[in-house]
């Protein structure tokens, strides 16, 4: 017998109604909508929103319910940031690196070529200044953000022809993220945004020479192995972080308890995304290689040149964009320390297994 039934049976509902109302109101179910930027097909990306919503549901005893909508259902994926900002939906799940054209600073909390790997990003976000700085940036958009899952390092993309020397990048029609396109531009790459909904179709039709999308699991889902024979590695970024974006007014209306539930549910969702990719990518890669596709490493000369042009672009952004400068200054200092630390225990351990037959 629940409390409502007890009160009805006690015959005192009318008498108590006025004074009990606030307590009943506090127990009312909260219903939010989460606009994902990802189609159901990309089930790890989309599913991370579902993991988050389930955690919130379960921890709140069902009193906080979030419906998760795939990209395109409520709005085009590209509109998620704006619609969260306007309050059309309470929250979204997105890859903020996609918002480069609004402000490159979004990329710093998400993915930049030669940026931090997934674990270093965790350290920066949770125990460095990362979350604090990105929160201050998102406040300009009336949005409260939480880390929403990291894909880990991705692959370097699908190519029709080998990239043997730096000059092979010249005039290459390459579909990739907006920031990576800017980083590769000095080497003559003709960048096409991978956010263009027609990009895969155009790649299939031969209008592009190469496309970088994600890792083996997602690339296989998107059918990329059918289009080109060469699969390069590694990707340009050390990791790609997604974010949960919450409308500030919706956030402020939550109880302290529900705010905590959102925060910790996001950590679990984040952990789950990386774990799922790590658990699934090899099997997808084996199928890809079994199907005759060839794995190709980017050569050191090319990687060093792209690293150099990345650093130059970032230095330029630091001059032209104060928001970028504020966040990047902290980011790159933290990254330098992480890289140095990872040369010892972590990198030396992992490095052993790069050579050792297991």
């Amino acid at each position: 017998m629940d409390r409502r039934t007890i009160l009805q049976h006690s015959g005192m509902v009318g008498i108590l109604a006025a004074s009990v109302a606030p307590a009943v109101h506090a127990q009312a179910t909260i219903r939010w909508r989460l606009a994902s930027s990802y189609p159901r097909l990309l089930d790890i990306l989309f599913g991370t929103g579902e993991v988050f919503a389930k955690a919130v549901h379960d921890m709140s005893g069902g009193k906080f319910q979030i419906s998760v909508h795939p990209g395109g259902e409520l709005m085009p994926a590209s509109a998620v940031l704006d619609r969260v900002r306007s309050g059309a939906v309470e929250m979204g799940h997105a890859t903020p690196a996609d918002y480069y054209d609004k402000d490159p600073t979004f990329c710093l909390g998400s993915a930049i070529p030669y940026g931090m790997n997934a674990r270093q990003m965790n350290a920066w976000l949770y125990e460095g200044n990362g979350s604090k700085l990105m929160r201050a940036f998102y406040a300009n958009y009336g949005i409260v953000n939480f880390p929403g899952g990291n894909t880990g390092a991705q692959m370097g993309g699908w190519f029709h022809k080998e990239i043997k020397v730096l000059q092979d990048l010249k005039d290459l029609k390459f579909g990739l993220s907006p920031l990576a396109g800017r980083v590769l531009a000095p080497h003559g790459v003709v960048a096409h945004s991978v956010l263009d909904s027609q990009i895969l179709q155009r790649f299939e039709q031969g209008a592009l020479d190469a496309v970088q999308w994600g890792g083996p699991y997602d690339d296989a889902k998107l059918g990329l192995p059918k289009v080109a024979p060469l699969y390069y590695y590694p990707g340009w970024a050390g990791s790609t972080e997604t974010e949960f974006l919450i409308n500030d007014k919706a956030w402020q209306a939550l109880s302290a308890e529900h705010k905590s539930i959102v925060e910790y549910a996001s950590t679990h969702a984040k952990m789950t995304m990386t774990a799922r990719y790590d658990a699934q990518n090899l099997s997808a890669l084996k199928t890809i290689v079994g199907g005759g596709r060839k794995l190709m490493p980017f050569l050191p000369e090319i990687r060093r040149a792209v690293f150099k042009s990345a650093r130059e672009l970032y230095a330029g952004l630091s001059e032209s964009n104060p928001e970028w400068r504020t966040v990047y200054t902290d980011y790159v200092k933290f990254q330098a320390d992480q890289i140095l630390w990872f040369r010892f225990a972590e990198g030396a351990f992992d490095g052993f297994f790069q050579q050792q037959k297991f």
Copy 2:
């Protein structure tokens, strides 16, 4: 005005008491004690229990409170498993690799030489069979376990003399974890358990030639840089996972809501521990090096020999211990896949920064 006050003011407390009682009971505060295995001095290890307890407190609106007690306060650190099992405390926080003498299988959910790195462990625990298998093992002890934080790869320990060739390990009086001691025994190491509370004192007094404890942050707190001049890397294990151990009866008494809160709070605590170590270790390492201690890599010949003896020991355990065999068979298959996958995107990305000046 809270509900109790409202009812008192309405003058109907006595009338309603009987029927309202069940609802009030469901809201009663739950109080647990968490026996940490770590002293306050090791503030990242000990503090992870506090992060967990705060998350549980905040998400439950203060209705589920867990007091966190440092190692030695309620019981010796070594007694945590037994006292959680007996129900003397509801839960503990421990490094299960320390329970090698009870059953080496504990090490598989915690740390084994040449085992998985922190991120691979996450994939195995959250998305492979890791948690399921370790849960089944812990059920023998009447304990429900949750991952409780990973230190990442540790350093290889403090040495008075250089280890130039494999033969330098012979007759080396080496304080280290019980399983690592077994792995190194075939090379002539005279292993002393690092769990011995007198181990640091004996190292200071010159009774030991070397001690491996943790990474730079913890080793500095323990005063190890004062004892020996050479700091080797990397540690033998790819990561050291800690666990939250919960008495099964206490667990079963929780509501579904509180069970979820415990589960997701543990994920956040786990993420926090690794992030804290990654954010703090370099600074500690710089101080150590600045104080004149010398960083020394274990040479490939030695690492390959220890890897070989580790695999031989694990094969032997698989013959003699069915619990080990069940978990290890899955662990090592998963690890092999992870190592192969990490050679491409992740390892190739990180490897670039092993050489590249940043």
